[in-house]
């Protein structure tokens, strides 16, 4: 395939960026999107130009590092995948593809397509954990009975890889799907109950302080999430938050 790429280039966080057009030729439809980006970068390096910076790590859909807003959608046109799992066969010969970084005030661009997602880490640090006593007297987690239903729901929520596609797809740049998942994975388990009240209050507070928008239930996040996190998790977070606010 021969493709025209329109890619956001930005030198650093302080410089203004712009869309720059590139051509790539002989792209195999079996390549992943990131491999196609590698081909482009090899071309650029050969021409002594600055390669396009983009995030990636595992390249198998588990780390959440790869991002990219491709042709107007987070992780491109396919569903239930990350960009490293996106195949070039989703595109056709001669197509023009736009590639932009995640756009949100809380995710500032560092360089080209790389954005700073540490806002998610600060939300996690605000309460996305459980405190355990490591004196050796901790009860074995496997010894605590948990209903299959709750265990399954908690596992589903824990599948979130913190990629930020939910924020990127949301017209409001809301992080509620991510935070909903991170609240839910604990709220459903007995170990998470102990700190449940402070957890949801602190995580939502941090989320608001980071400057993410407010959910209006468009459901775009759920459609674009590579890990199938559902809106049910946002509703659970809302319930947790409202009841935690009552407790103060």
């Amino acid at each position: 395939m021969n493709l025209t790429l329109k890619i956001w280039r930005q030198k650093d966080s302080k410089t203004k960026g712009q869309m720059v057009e590139y051509k790539v030729t002989d792209i195999s439809e079996h390549m992943s999107f990131l491999e196609m980006m590698d081909v482009l970068n090899e071309q650029l390096v050969a021409k002594n130009e600055e390669p396009v910076a983009f995030d990636h790590d595992c390249r198998e859909g588990i780390c959440g590092m790869c991002s990219l807003h491709i042709n107007g959608e987070a992780h491109g046109p396919d569903r239930g995948i990350t960009t490293c799992q996106l195949h070039m066969r989703m595109f056709h010969d001669g197509e023009t593809i736009t590639i932009e970084p995640w756009r949100a005030k809380a995710f500032p661009v560092i360089k080209d397509l790389v954005v700073d997602r540490t806002a998610f880490e600060r939300i996690q640090q605000a309460g996305g954990y459980i405190s355990v006593n490591t004196s050796g007297n901790t009860q074995d987690a496997n010894g605590i009975p948990i209903s299959k239903h709750n265990a399954d729901k908690a596992m589903d929520a824990a599948a979130c890889i913190g990629c930020g596609a939910c924020v990127a797809s949301c017209k409001n740049s809301s992080a509620m799907l991510f935070v909903g998942a991170k609240v839910s994975q604990f709220a459903l388990l007995p170990q998470g109950k102990v700190e449940a009240t402070e957890r949801v209050l602190n995580m939502v507070k941090q989320m608001d302080e980071e400057g993410f928008g407010n959910c209006t239930n468009t459901g775009a996040c759920e459609v674009e999430c590579p890990k199938g996190i559902t809106l049910e998790n946002i509703a659970r977070m809302n319930r947790e938050y409202l009841s935690a606010s009552m407790k103060g």
Binding site: G211, T218, N238
Partner: protein, 219 residues
């Protein structure tokens, strides 16, 4: 905004609560309107009761007005904040690939409803207030039907009202189920809520349009 309403989730909750109140109000409003199609007498009696009962006039009416104002002011506040949460816009953003038009344009359908509400207040509410409290004219329990019929003679008004109700339908097609989600209601009954929301969003505005057109064509 301080305290409880300073958090994103609390704002959503308050938004949904005011919206649910408006949803219930619309049922009552339409019921009264529909009687005008069947019986002049019943409509007059109901209107007289609504317009003179102190509990409704000085209890529910202020709550309704505050509810409406809260709803659209909060709607604007959220919209402006949410726009601000993305300082650099996408060159290419395919909203239609993952969400409905209704869900992405609540502020525009809301603005259309707001424009309608302004006209509607000037049409009915201000003359009522004038009649009752400024001019202090004697109570007349038979005047309402005629006033109503008279109002819908001009084509522009019948048309403007009908168009506004289409926007109300669009607003509710997303809003009804959204309000439940905002309040944390998402469980095995949600498919029922969604279906109920669809029926409500079509039947209620269609009912208002029916009454409007009925009086436009029968006078």
């Amino acid at each position: 905004m301080s305290g409880f309403l300073s958090s994103s989730i609390a704002r959503k909750f308050a938004m949904a609560l005011s919206a649910l109140f408006l949803i219930i109000f619309l049922i009552i409003h339409l019921t009264v309107n529909l009687t005008s199609v069947f019986s002049e007498d019943v409509f007059n009696q109901l209107s007289h009761f609504m317009g003179t009962n102190p509990l409704i006039q000085f209890g529910l009416q202020p709550v309704l007005i505050i509810g409406v104002i809260f709803h659209f002011v909060m709607g604007f506040v959220l919209e402006i904040r949410n726009k601000g949460a993305r300082d650099v816009k996408y060159v290419n953003f395919k909203g239609a690939a993952n969400s409905t038009w209704m869900s992405r344009n609540m502020v525009y359908s809301g603005l259309a409803i707001l424009a309608f509400l302004v006209i509607h207040f000037i049409d009915f509410w201000l003359p009522e207030m004038n009649y009752k409290y400024i001019e202090g004219l004697p109570a007349d329990s038979t005047r309402y039907y005629e006033e109503l019929q008279h109002k819908f003679v001009p084509l522009w008004r019948a048309a403007a009202y009908s168009v506004a109700f289409v926007f109300l339908a669009l607003h509710l097609l997303h809003g009804f189920q959204s309000a439940f989600q905002s309040m944390g209601f998402n469980n095995k009954y949600s498919s029922f809520v969604k279906a109920l929301g669809k029926w409500y969003s079509i039947i209620i505005p269609a009912g208002f349009i029916f009454v409007t057109l009925y009086h436009h064509f029968n006078h």
